[in-house]
């Protein structure tokens, strides 16, 4: 097991370096000068030269690249060209917003997608149940998250006025209250702030969660179909076990391995979804930060955001691989 973990880590390092290189060179061939983007067309040649020097953009590309890789492995992504403060600080501030969105969407997706997938597999010979569930999954897959988000905004925010149109509530305030222990001194304020955050979170989580639920339900359905066609399920039925026991005691447990694979895929899809969801709902977060940074040609910020996204995906896939053996003891790592 240890050897396997080590081998996977060794494979993950060049993958991460490669991904970081792609990001670096893609950002460097961006059309337009970041200094002109920052200072405007009216800036003098001297001012532009100063800006280029200050940002280190006058150095040879190879030097900039080596510097970027060396600093990135220490989680130092430089300073934001526009905001002026460290990118890692900015990422640390945005990360909780994206994290709670992904977690809330995961809850929605799991609560909707897994039961729908399992039911659709178990009732596959009953078209009255299977077909509507499959159509639900297909619609969810075909519906772009940004469009669903806009529809939810039109209906629940503009027409019914149940949810706020933009923003994410005072999540920083909530985190600060937890850190400083003020949540115990002012519990009423704390819960009000938490409720406000959840109020802002509901629609984005629903939009992202629904599109993810479609993927989850399809994957759960095929995982369940795979499991219930196994010999041990037939044996359990032949022994006279009731269907519910067959499902709960045998099928669901053995579905855990394919479900883990789903989680690995899920994180990649969810992170992509946050880019669009945060943009639609004008929520702060890594996704919106990335889109804004690209628009402003803020290299370090965009590089930092993409690097963090990639790191998360690689690490999650690694952890999922490790968990296979925990969930299913038959899997061994050689």
């Amino acid at each position: 097991m240890f050897k396997y973990v080590l081998r996977r880590l060794i494979v993950a390092i060049p993958m991460l370096l490669g991904a970081m290189s792609i990001v670096f060179f893609a950002m460097r061939i961006l059309p337009g000068d970041p200094c002109i983007a920052m200072m405007g067309d009216q800036a003098t040649t001297e001012a532009l030269a100063d800006c280029t020097k200050n940002l280190g953009l006058h150095r040879p590309l190879a030097v900039q690249y080596a510097d970027y890789i060396w600093r990135s492995v220490q989680f130092d992504f430089g300073k934001s060209l526009r905001q002026g403060y460290p990118v890692s600080e900015y990422i640390a501030r945005m990360f909780p917003h994206t994290l709670i969105l992904v977690l809330a969407a995961a809850v929605v997706a799991a609560l909707v997608g897994v039961p729908v997938g399992i039911l659709s597999a178990l009732k596959r010979r009953n078209p009255l149940i299977d077909y509507p569930l499959r159509i639900f999954a297909l619609l969810g897959l075909s519906m772009p998250v940004f469009w669903l988000g806009i529809l939810l905004l039109i209906f629940f925010s503009l027409r019914l006025d149940w949810f706020p149109l933009i923003g994410a509530g005072d999540l920083d305030g909530v985190i600060n209250m937890v850190k400083t222990g003020e949540m115990f001194q002012y519990p009423r304020d704390f819960f009000a702030a938490v409720l406000d955050v959840l109020h802002h979170l509901a629609l984005p989580a629903l939009a992202l969660g629904f599109t993810l639920a479609a993927t989850v339900s399809r994957l759960s359905r095929s995982a369940m179909l795979e499991v219930i066609s196994q010999d041990y399920i037939r044996t359990a039925r032949a022994k006279g076990q009731v269907e519910r026991a067959v499902v709960y005691k045998h099928a669901l447990r053995n579905m855990l391995v394919p479900l883990l694979t789903i989680i690995g895929l899920f994180v990649a899809i969810a992170l992509t979804g946050t880019v669009l969801t945060e943009t639609v709902f004008t929520r702060p977060g890594l996704g919106k930060m990335l889109v804004d940074a690209i628009g402003a040609r803020d290299y370090p910020l965009a590089q930092g955001a993409i690097t963090v996204f990639t790191m998360i995906i690689i690490v999650v896939n690694l952890v999922v691989d490790m968990l296979y053996a925990v969930v299913d003891p038959r899997i061994t790592y050689r």
Partner: protein, 297 residues
């Protein structure tokens, strides 16, 4: 436990076995039928856009700014903030979506499949290096990779096709490799080698044709992914720049007016969803029809 006394209690009489063949056929072929009808409709609309669109997609009607839909009116689906006809823009937008969807999948297929087959058949260092590059690209979700590339190259039709095509390439590499790994163990490959066929001939004449049907099924599903990715890029303002009508940028522009004029976002979103649905239905149905393990499910 009751014991069956004769065979008729265990198995139904033979004449009852093929029950409701029409229903079964409908169940089996309805999704692919709907998918094909929607996809063909999309192709016809894209090809005949100048004939079908009642107005120019860029013509601005100052007397009809942000006009609501009226199905008997000049602007059946309403107008946008510049007074442009949404119906005509959506029809012209079909061209962009379809072009990007098909061309980027062909691009990814043309690069990914030969590399995947080469990796699968050749093995060794060649396989390792191809697969590590593919893994590196796979670390990025499709939209994120397309976003990076299109940002670097600029938002034009060709650049969008290249960006989405590159983002899809590793998926084709992986699939083609896994198919090639299975096919290379077949007897007919050994037979081809034993009569002196070159590696290139084996790959082109035996491995590729045998992998083709599975690759085409997946390619159909990736057309849906490509259309959705194009719409997402345009929505983020990184795709084809306005005033060229694409579904994503119609939706993105309409976002500012959702309070007063929700029809702009609603109709363009419906167009995206129908297009993605068409290719998802076709891909799913083709996979179910061609994968013998799923037959009868």
């Amino acid at each position: 436990m009751a014991i069956a006394r004769d065979a008729s209690e265990i198995a139904p009489p033979l004449e009852q076995a093929p029950a409701r063949p029409t229903g079964r056929l409908l169940r089996r072929y309805a999704p692919i039928g709907i998918g094909i009808v929607l996809a063909v409709a999309m192709i016809v609309i894209a090809a005949a856009a100048p004939l079908i669109a009642p107005l120019s997609p860029s013509a601005q009607y100052s007397d009809a700014v942000l006009k609501g839909p009226g199905f008997m009116d000049r602007h059946a689906l309403g107008t946008d903030e510049f007074g442009r006809d949404i119906y005509s823009r959506i029809i012209w937008g079909t061209r962009i979506s379809l072009q990007v969807g098909l061309a980027s999948v062909i691009f990814g297929f043309a690069i990914g499949v030969p590399l995947g087959i080469l990796a699968g058949v050749q093995g060794g260092r060649c396989e390792t290096s191809i697969m590590r590059c593919a893994d590196m690209l796979m670390a990025f979700p499709t939209l994120l990779l397309a976003l990076i590339i299109v940002t670097a190259l600029g938002g034009t039709l060709v650049n969008e096709i290249i960006a989405i095509g590159i983002a899809l390439t590793p998926n084709f590499v992986r699939l083609a490799r896994s198919l090639a790994l299975q096919i290379r163990e077949q007897d007919y490959i050994m037979a081809a080698r034993s009569i002196g066929s070159s590696q290139l001939r084996v790959m082109a004449r035996h491995v590729f044709p045998n992998a083709l049907y599975a690759l085409v099924v997946v390619a159909t599903l990736y057309i849906a992914t490509a259309i959705r990715t194009e719409a997402s890029l345009s929505f983020l303002g990184l795709g084809i720049p306005p005033p060229t009508p694409s579904w994503g940028n119609i939706l993105s522009e309409g976002r500012q007016y959702i309070k007063c004029c929700p029809w702009i976002t609603t109709f363009s979103g419906v167009a995206i969803m129908m297009a993605v649905l068409a290719f998802n239905l076709m891909g799913d149905a083709l996979r179910d029809l061609l994968d013998p393990r799923l037959k009868g499910e």
